[in-house]
């Protein structure tokens, strides 16, 4: 960021008119002087009026253009000071008779005072600007020092030339002074060094200018921790690093992963016993309502677990390849129609678009949801894929998605008492939003997915 773009400490623009006002006064004084003196020599008149006009011009320029960082009253004070110094010198010259007896003192004084004020105003403008730039530079440095993220500037040989307090703390140093001057490698273990070196090489080759990732960092006492690191190349002049300790986040993720895995494992084992025993009961008792309901409950639980796993995988995999949206929806309709033979499906596709393949899972969920929870006697699900704007609508002739479940699709905060009854709609919400789309439910209960879709090239 250049100092001109820096509006962190833009000065007050009040009283910018003071300098032009001074110019007007001095020009007025000069004109008044010649108006009361009969026929002055033209050269003398011009030499006296010009400096005052120049000061007026500069003052107007200053007023209208407002040079960044220079305050009107400060520049005015400089101009008055300059005029004062010159006036003092003039008076001293008169006192010692330096101008000789023939000199017309008033226009000499006016001429010199105007020139002095003009010079001082220009000097004042630059001085005030420099002072302001130095101030905002200092503020930026303080901001960097106070930032919670570690920030370091490296020269092109990879030596730390600036580090803020957070960067030093991340390394386990008491103050930035103990890390400045060290090579960056001291902050990272061997494996990370190789990875980062490869990136720096690409920077130097001009292949890329920015990099972000999670790496393992090392403190001076040898302990390591996960760190989010972003590096930016400064056009042939070193690099800027911004980093953050993400131990908490990584631990939460690990906890989630472990809980997920253990829960899924135990649920599968336990439900295998439940389902197996239920099967034996059914052999003994024949058709039995209690057994049926045990089996249904167990199977629902299994399906929820499986859905959670699919979702986890889809989200972990990141952005999927682009796929033709119409075909994707058609295939899913066929698939779900096979699963629900009692429900009829109607699909209208009027576009040629492609979208993130992860939407497939969301579409499947919406279709099965519409088919499964349809309370109409002659169940029917209708799906349309429209181009402008890109839209997938899934509706049915039942009562649609109940009010309390719609909150999920709006991404509302869940609480123990207010959350959707399954993972299905969360799956839809996460997949759609992760692929830069949006989802909403209409008054009639039709779900409208607005995918981030592009025309097929």
């Amino acid at each position: 960021m250049s100092a001109v773009d820096d509006h962190l400490a833009a000065p007050v623009t009040a009283r910018r008119w003071l300098v032009p006002a001074l110019g007007v006064t001095l020009t007025g004084a000069a004109l008044a002087h010649f108006a009361t003196h009969v026929s002055p020599a033209p050269m003398v008149a011009v030499a006296t009026i010009l400096p005052a006009l120049a000061l007026l011009g500069y003052g107007l320029w200053f007023w209208l253009r407002a040079p960044a960082g220079a305050r009107g009253d400060a520049v005015f004070a400089w101009a008055i000071g300059g005029a004062g110094v010159v006036l003092t010198l003039d008076l001293w010259a008169v006192l010692v008779g330096a101008y000789g007896v023939e000199a017309t003192l008033p226009h000499v004084v006016i001429q010199h005072v105007s020139t002095g004020a003009l010079g001082a105003a220009i000097a004042g403008t630059y001085s005030d600007r420099d002072r302001w730039r130095a101030g905002s530079h200092l503020r930026l440095l303080r901001a960097l020092d106070a930032a919670m993220d570690g920030i370091a500037v490296l020269d092109d040989s990879g030596t730390v030339s600036y580090a803020n307090a957070a960067f030093a703390e991340g390394y386990g140093a008491d103050s930035p002074a103990s890390i400045v001057g060290e090579p960056w490698q001291v902050c990272y273990p061997e494996a990370t060094r190789e990875r980062v070196s490869a990136v720096l090489e690409e920077f130097d080759a001009g292949a890329q200018e920015e990099w972000q990732g999670t790496v393992t960092a090392r403190r001076s006492d040898g302990t390591t921790y996960p760190q989010d690191l972003s590096m930016t190349a400064l056009a042939g002049d070193g690099y800027v690093w911004v980093c953050r300790d993400v131990t908490g986040r990584e631990e939460r993720e690990q906890r989630l992963r472990v809980l997920n895995r253990v829960l899924r494992h135990n649920v599968r084992n336990a439900l295998n016993v439940v389902l197996g025993r239920a099967e034996r009961l059914r052999e003994r008792l024949g058709d039995d309502e209690d057994v049926d309901s045990i089996v249904t409950a167990a199977e629902d639980l299994l399906a929820a677990g499986e859905k959670a796993r699919q979702l986890e995988r889809a989200l972990e995999a990141g952005v999927g390849p682009e796929e033709p949206l119409g075909e994707m929806v058609r295939e899913e309709v066929e698939r779900v129609a096979e699963e629900f033979p009692g429900v009829s499906f109607e699909i209208t596709v009027t576009c040629e678009l492609e979208a993130d393949s992860r939407l497939r899972l969301a579409v499947r969920e919406l279709l099965s949801n519409a088919a499964e929870h349809n309370d109409a006697t002659d169940s029917m699900v209708h799906v349309t894929v429209e181009p402008d704007p890109p839209m997938v609508r899934v509706g049915d002739n039942g009562s649609g998605i109940p009010e309390h479940e719609r909150r999920t699709l709006a991404g509302a905060d869940e609480t123990p008492l207010r959350h959707g009854s399954g993972v299905g709609l969360w799956l839809v919400y996460w997949l759609v939003t992760q692929s830069d789309g949006a989802v909403r439910v209409t008054e009639e209960g039709t779900v409208v997915v607005r995918p981030n879709a592009e025309p097929i090239n």
């Binding site: 899924r264 494992h265 295998n272 016993v273 099967e279 034996r280």
Partner: protein, 194 residues
């Protein structure tokens, strides 16, 4: 032939182990082990099929599998587990990978298929083992993950090669050979179930 096949069920969840044993005992000699060490104690050359849980107390099912294979026994081993398969399964020498829950029908089909396979030549068996790995990975991994994984790619290449070798072998058999082999197989298969 009146030989009854022997199945070793290795499962730390006692309820489940007993259930599996119960389902299989009408057709097979079933041995049940709740721990890895008990599994190895009960394992001998009479065992035709091992149903192996991957997560066991003390040492894992993967270790049991390795020991079984080191003993040079060519019995059929199916991992029957609640653990989602990852690329690490490519290192394991199993013949089938089944994710729980399994019902009675699944289990019976699994065992009879494995027994049928044990009659095939080594060539065919290793083809089945690789094919089962590929199928397992394909159901648990996304296309992107598969495309990016070198181990998966070399597995596919190996499978394709084995497949063409087998095709060549089958073409060499004339029709009567083929029928003879087929009859032989189906007879043995019914025998083991009787």
């Amino acid at each position: 032939m009146t030989h009854t096949a022997t199945v070793l069920v290795v499962e730390d969840e006692r309820e489940l182990a007993d259930l599996f044993a119960d389902w299989l005992s009408p057709s097979y000699d079933v041995r049940t082990a709740y721990t890895a060490s008990s599994a190895l104690d009960q394992f001998d050359e009479d065992v035709d099929v091992v149903l192996l849980d991957r997560r066991l107390p003390e040492s894992s099912g993967d270790d049991v599998l390795q020991t079984v294979r080191q003993q040079g026994n060519d019995c059929q081993v199916a991992m029957v587990t609640a653990v989602d398969p990852d690329f690490d399964i490519l290192e394991l020498g199993f013949d089938a990978y089944v994710v729980k829950p399994v019902d009675r029908e699944d289990l019976e089909t699994l065992v009879s298929q494995l027994l049928a396979r044990s009659l095939y030549s080594e060539e065919v068996q290793s083809y089945f083992s690789l094919a089962s790995k590929r199928a397992t990975l394909e159901t648990s991994k996304t296309e992107d993950e598969l495309v990016d994984d070198e181990r998966y790619q070399s597995l596919c290449a190996e499978l394709a090669e084995k497949r063409s070798n087998l095709d060549r072998m089958v073409r060499k058999l004339d029709e009567s050979d083929f029928l003879a082999v087929f009859n032989d197989l189906s007879e043995e298969n019914t025998d083991t179930r009787s």
